[in-house]
Structure formats: C-alpha cells, structure tokens
C-alpha cells in the first residue's frame, strides 16, 4: 500500500517535472518566435552565431574565444551597433563533438538565420562545418592558426597560415641571432595541423641544407599525459648540441610536457622549445619559472606595446571581472583571442562598408580591408579571405608573458597553399 502511494507520488513528481520542462520549452520557442517576428518587423538587431565548444575537451581553449567575441559584440553595441542595428549573439555549445559542430552550424544558418558565424578551433571542426557553410553560403570567421591546404570563399581565416608562423620561426632559429640551431626535434600531437606543419617544416629545413638525420619527427595522442619517454629521447638528441624542439603539442598535453622537460634537467639554454600552439592563455596555468627562455611564434602577444593593445588587454580583463567569469581580472589575452575579437570588428567594418549584411557583399567588402587590431595594423588579402600580418618570436618571461625578441619586416602575406617555390 505504502509502496503504491510512494510510487504514485514519485510518478506525479516526474510528470510535473516533465510538464514543467515542456512548458519552458514551449515558452522558449514561443519567445524565440516572438523575437523572430519582432526581428522582421522592427529589424533593429542582427544575429551572429558563436560556435565554440563550452564543454568537452576543447572547452579548455575555446571558452576564451567565446568571451572575446562577446566582448567585441558588447563594445560594438555600446557604440551604436552595425548599420544602426544591435548585434545579438546566438551562443551554442557544440560540446567538442565534431558531428554536433555540423548540426549546430546548420541550426545557426538555416533556423536562426545568422549573418555570420564566429567559431571553431580544431581543423576537424572546421572541416565538419565547411560543407554546411558552402552549401548555405554562410560566412565563418575562423580565428586560429591552421594547416593551410584549404581556402574556402565561405571562411575568413584570420589565424596564421603556415608561412605566417612556421617559416619565420625556422628562419629565426637557424639565424646567427637566434642561436644558429642545426638539429630539430619536431614533436606534435597526432592530428592534421602538426602533421602538415611538420611536413612543411621538414621540407623547408631540408631545402636549407639541414641533413635528414638531424631532423626527428614524433607524434603523441591527444591528451597524452606521460612524456617521460619522449623527454628522455629529446635529452639524448640534445647531447649532440645545437638542438631545439619545434613543438606543435596541443592543449592539455603541454603542461605535463613542460613539467617533465624541466624536471629531467633540460633548459632553454641547452635545448629551447619553439612552440606553435602555446600562448599566454595556456601559460596562465603553468609553472612559468621553468619555462623562462623557451620560445613561441605568433602574430600577437599580450605584451605588444601599442595603444590599441593596451586598451584591448585592459578591456578584456575588466570584461572578465565584471561578468564574473572564472579567472576574473587575472585572465590574459593571446593570439587566438586577439583574432576572435578582431574578427567581429572586421565583419562589422565590412558590413558598414558594404552597407548590407548580405554574405556576398560583406565578403567583397572584406577584401583589402585594413584594421588597427591589437596586434597592429593588419590587412585583408585582395583575393583570399586571409589576413596579412606581422610575425613575432616571443620569449617566455617569469610572469607568464612573452617578450618580443624578433619581428618580421612589415606584413607577411598569407599563403594558404604552401609550396617552397612560392616563397619570396
């Protein structure tokens, strides 16, 4: 008897919960429908999509980009919006699930009818959404350095192409100023960016007269945590002198790698690590005293000393503090964050220039556009949706920041399809 009453009670509760869920769902969809109608009637907002993983393995990197986009949107809205309209970001969570990226981009483009989408980090997520954007003629702003071999008219690649990051870094290391290194250990996480990056690096190094036996290539799985064996291999390699590591290790594997590196007694003086995927945001979590002197190649650092950047850094810190985001005022900016932020401005500026949110018109307006980004003045290429920008080599300081020790002359033009002969 009691059991039955208890069961009746439980099922009533469950039904109530279900009903509440349905009700909120209905309200929500009604609300969004209401927005739709007010949208088309008053037409005072324009929607953009934000497609960054907020959960799962990639959240570690992508959450900061979502924050940067949000901040740029707030800034633009505070100064009157774009073409007289306020920007309304639609934030979804693709949950580091590559299939879900495609699904969510369909939802953003078809159901939510966004004017542009800002998102993706990994190349697989970009590859996953690419057909959707091409099919629906959407516009994706992709803020992360990538492996090249792709240049879609529906994607704006604001991160570095291989020649805007890898080649200057290799040049620097081989130069007398950089230390004249002659032996290279190419270490990466096993996915397409490190694979392609190392292929390009290897070809380039060979063309510069580095003998084959002086180049070692190795890959670890995603989220690899145990670098003992690899570090001892590097150590043996470094005994020969004039050796350095070119690292394309991704995300959370970096901390165990650097910790092991320091613990086994290797230092930047004996064997520096040139990292292509470690920026200030990753360093925030590391024990930086062991990292001092190691290098990175990017197009932007928080320490760049120009007014645009000072304003940007201060704004980002106060934004994180005000919104009570984890980390608060201790948050830092880095290369992808800078481009995620710049992307929104590029889009807004192009839309203003085109006088429309139409994708084709915005794209046409984007080409040759210049913008005073936190990294300095950058210029959109005339033909492809890539940025021309400076390349900087940074050295890690004890406070987790980089000091810029070397800089390319002027802007480096993007070269999405890399070939040795195409290099100037």
């Amino acid at each position: 008897m009691y059991k039955q009453i208890f069961f009746a009670f439980k099922s009533t509760l469950f039904l109530l919960a279900g009903a509440a869920l349905l009700f909120t769902t209905a309200c929500n969809s009604a609300a969004s429908k209401g927005e739709n109608s007010s949208d088309s009637a008053a037409a005072n907002t324009v929607r953009i999509g934000v497609l960054h993983s907020l959960s799962g393995t990639m959240a570690i990197s992508e959450v900061s980009l979502k924050d940067a986009v949000q901040m740029a949107v707030d800034e633009i809205n505070a100064s009157g919006g774009v073409l007289g309209k306020k920007i309304e970001p639609v934030i979804v969570d693709p949950a580091s699930d590559w299939d879900l990226f495609a699904e969510k981009s369909k939802e953003l483009l078809i159901d939510k009818k966004v004017a542009a989408v800002f998102g993706c980090w990994t190349s697989v997520s970009r590859k996953s959404v690419l057909p959707v954007f091409e099919e629906n003629n959407g516009l994706l702003f992709y803020p992360v350095q990538y492996e090249g071999e792709e240049s879609s008219k529906n994607v704006v690649y604001s991160g570095a192409t291989p020649n805007q990051q890898l080649i200057p870094a290799a040049d620097y290391l081989m130069s007398a100023e950089g230390g004249g290194y002659k032996r290279f250990y190419l270490l990466g996480t096993d996915y397409v960016f490190p694979r392609t990056a190392n292929k390009i690096l290897k070809a380039y190094l060979l063309s510069k007269g580095i003998p084959k036996e002086n180049i070692v290539e190795e890959y670890t799985p995603f989220h690899h945590q145990d670098y003992q064996t690899i570090v001892s291999k590097i150590k043996k390699f470094a005994v020969g002198g004039k050796a350095c590591v070119l690292s394309t290790i991704n995300g959370d594997s970096n901390i165990p790698f650097y910790k092991e590196f320091a613990n086994q007694g290797l230092t930047a003086a004996t064997c520096p690590i040139m990292a292509f995927s470690v920026a200030e945001d990753e360093l925030r979590a590391m024990d930086t005293e062991f990292l001092v002197g190691h290098l990175a190649a990017w197009n932007y650092y928080q320490s760049i000393d120009i007014p645009e950047n000072k304003k940007f850094v201060a704004a980002f810190k106060s934004f994180c503090e005000k919104k009570n985001l984890p980390g608060g005022a201790k948050r830092v900016t880095d290369d992808p964050i800078c481009w995620a932020y710049t992307d929104v401005y590029l889009w807004a500026k192009a839309a203003e220039k085109a006088g429309s949110f139409d994708v084709d018109k915005v794209r046409a307006a984007l080409h040759s556009l210049t913008f005073d980004s936190p990294a300095g003045n950058v210029k959109m290429d005339e033909k492809v949706n890539h940025l021309a920008k400076p390349v900087l080599i940074g050295e890690i300081k004890p406070d987790g920041q980089f000091s810029v020790i070397w800089k390319t002359q002027g802007l480096i033009d993007p070269q999405p399809f890399f070939s040795l002969t195409a290099k100037k």
Binding site: A59, Q225, T229, S232
Partner: protein, 355 residues
C-alpha cells in the same frame, strides 16, 4: 626487448595451443609455471640490460614505467577496494581524482592569497590530507545519495555514476574555469642526478614513495584493524557478515569514503606532474579499470602487479614504438592476457566466485 617480446609470443602461442586442444590439466599446469617463468625471464633480462647499460636508457625506461605504474596503482586502489566490496563500477571515480586535484589547487590559492605564506611547500603538505578528506566526503555523499540504492544492480551503477561524472565535470568547469595548474612545491622541483644522462625527478620519486606509503597503510588497515576485518568479511560474504552483527551499511559507507579518498590523494599527487582540468579523471579511468580487472577484483597484490605490469610494459613498448602504438599494443596484450586469465591474475577462488 625483442627477446622478451618473442618469449611472450611463444608463451602465448603455447597457451593458445593447449587451450585449443582442450587439455584441461595441461592448461592448468601451463598457467602455473608459465607466468612466473616469464616474469623471472623479464627480470633477468632487464637486470642484464641495466648492468651492461652505460647511457642509462634502460634505467630511465624502467623508472618511467614504475612511475606510471605507481600512478595507476594510486588511481585504481580505491576503485579496487570499492569494487571488491560492493561490486559497484564507479565511473565517477576519475572525478574524485579531479576533486582531489582541485582541492590542492584551492589550498594553494588559500595559502598564497589569503594566508600569504611565502614558501610554497606548506600548501602541498596541507593539501595531501585535505584532498583525501574532501574527495572522501564527496564519495560518502555519492554513496549515501545514489549508490546505496544500486547495490543490487551493479551494472546499472555504471550508468548512474556516469551521470554523476557528467555533473561533477560541469560543476568543476563552472566553478574553476578550464585552465588551472598547481605550482610545483619548491622541495619537489628538479631531480636526482644519478649520472649525467639520467635524472630522476623528485616529483616522480615522491609519487612512488607516496604509493608505497599508501599501500602499506591500506594493507595495515585491511589486515590489522577491526574495520579492515569487517571490510574483508563483507567483501567475502555480505549476508553472512550481516548475520554476524556487522553493520554492513556502515562498512559500505566507510569503504566508499576510503576508496574515494584514495582517489583524491592520487589527484593531489597528479598535480605534481600534470594539469588540473575538469575532465582529467577521464584520462585515467579506462586504464584504472583495466588495472583492476587484470589484477583480479578486490586484491591489493593484484592491483600492484597489474599497475606495475601495465606501467612498465607500456613505457618499454613506447621506447620502441611511438606512444600511440605503445598504447594500442598494451591494450592488445591485455586482451590476449584476459584469454588466459579471464578473472585476473589473482582470481577469487571457491564456490562464491563461480557466478
């Protein structure tokens, strides 16, 4: 190395042959002498290699293996005890590891920002017991709220604890953000320079030492205390223990506290070599399960053997193949091993173990 791989292959083939022929007695005999002989062969092989090894590579690999093994032991120890007692597969075990790591992180923040302690050694000393207690309490809570209802349905406990682990991960993510790491205490920075080519990091030596201490403590608790006796009794026969007046519910709760606490301790130790991220537990959970399963459920000695075995094997393999193939190979080896020992190295014996 190649010799030992070949040896293993030969033994595996021999066992397979015996198995296929269905010679039951032969299989038993094979099982009895083959593995110890193999183990002795491996030890001998390594001893020779180490003795003749000038560059320190083999010692390095062996050390790496022991270090990885001790981490696996730390992580799987709690799992083994809980599983042995209640038969519950706790998918959220990795998340207790995460709780321990975040406790360490919070203690560090507390010491540097609130208490203004300059030396960063003290926080770690304080964090060790605290992470045990925090994770233990979280485990206790989980047991009281959810797992208590699932003792009769162990396989389904896997699903419920999976849900718990989703919730815990997201909670950590919204509380701490995604990117945090603990600063290495000064006393554990650097390493012991044995030869110019061989450095044994203090942090890893510490973890190995911690594992030994924890193992001794758990062994003492299980064999020499009243509580340990009760735990072993309930593990062997729950209803009989209850008849004899043991409060099995209390034993369950305490065991869960200890098991989760051990995971928390492992998490605290992990901050020395890795990062602190919300889903750090997921990296280790499959390996930990494998360790438990191979070792034989609920056996301390099994967990040690399996943990060290997996650790050393994967490091040795990794030295010859790339890391991924090392991992795939070790998993394949485990699958082959399970063919001969479907219930682990030290299986339960007797009537109760049959079904």
């Amino acid at each position: 190395m190649l010799i030992s791989a070949a040896l293993l292959l030969i033994v595996a083939l021999m066992e397979l042959l015996l198995k296929i022929n269905g010679i039951k007695s032969g299989k038993q005999a094979g099982a009895r002498w083959v593995w110890p002989v193999l183990l002795a062969g491996m030890v001998l092989f390594f001893a020779i290699r180490i003795a003749t090894d000038s560059s320190g590579t083999y010692i390095q690999n062996l050390f790496s293996g022991i270090s990885l093994g001790s981490i696996l032991i730390l992580v799987s120890l709690g799992l083994a005890i809980v599983y042995g007692l209640a038969g519950v597969i706790n998918m959220a075990h990795g998340e207790f590891l995460m709780i321990g790591a975040y406790t360490t992180y919070s203690v560090q923040l507390l010491f540097t920002n609130v208490l203004h302690v300059h030396s960063n050694n003290w926080f770690f000393i304080a964090a060790l017991p605290l992470s045990f207690v925090t994770a233990g309490l979280a485990g206790l809570l989980l047991e009281r709220l959810i797992i208590r209802h699932l003792y009769a349905r162990p396989l389904e406990s896997l699903l419920a604890t999976w849900g718990v682990s989703l919730i815990l991960i997201q909670t950590a993510r919204s509380l701490f953000g995604d990117l945090t790491a603990v600063k290495l205490p000064e006393m554990l920075a650097g390493g012991w320079q044995v030869t110019p080519g061989l450095v044994l990091p203090y942090s890893r030596l510490f973890i190995i030492g911690l594992t030994v201490v924890v193992l001794l403590a758990v062994h003492y608790t299980l064999t020499a205390t009243r509580l340990g006796m009760q735990i072993r009794a309930v593990t062997q026969n729950r209803s009989m223990s209850a008849c004899l007046g043991i409060n099995t519910r209390r034993v369950d709760a305490v065991t869960f506290f200890i098991g989760s606490g051990l995971a928390g301790l492992a998490g605290c130790a992990m901050t020395l070599i890795g990062n602190v991220v919300p889903d750090m537990g997921q990296t280790y959970i499959v390996d930990a399960f494998l360790t438990v399963v191979i070792g034989g459920v609920g056996k301390l000695l099994g967990a040690i053997t399996a943990g060290l075995g997996i650790g050393i094997f994967s490091k040795v393999l990794e030295a010859f193949f790339e890391a991924v193939y090392g991992k795939v190979l070790i998993l394949l080896l485990i699958m082959i091993f399970m063919q001969f020992r479907p219930r682990g190295i030290f299986p339960d014996k007797g009537r109760a173990a049959a079904d």
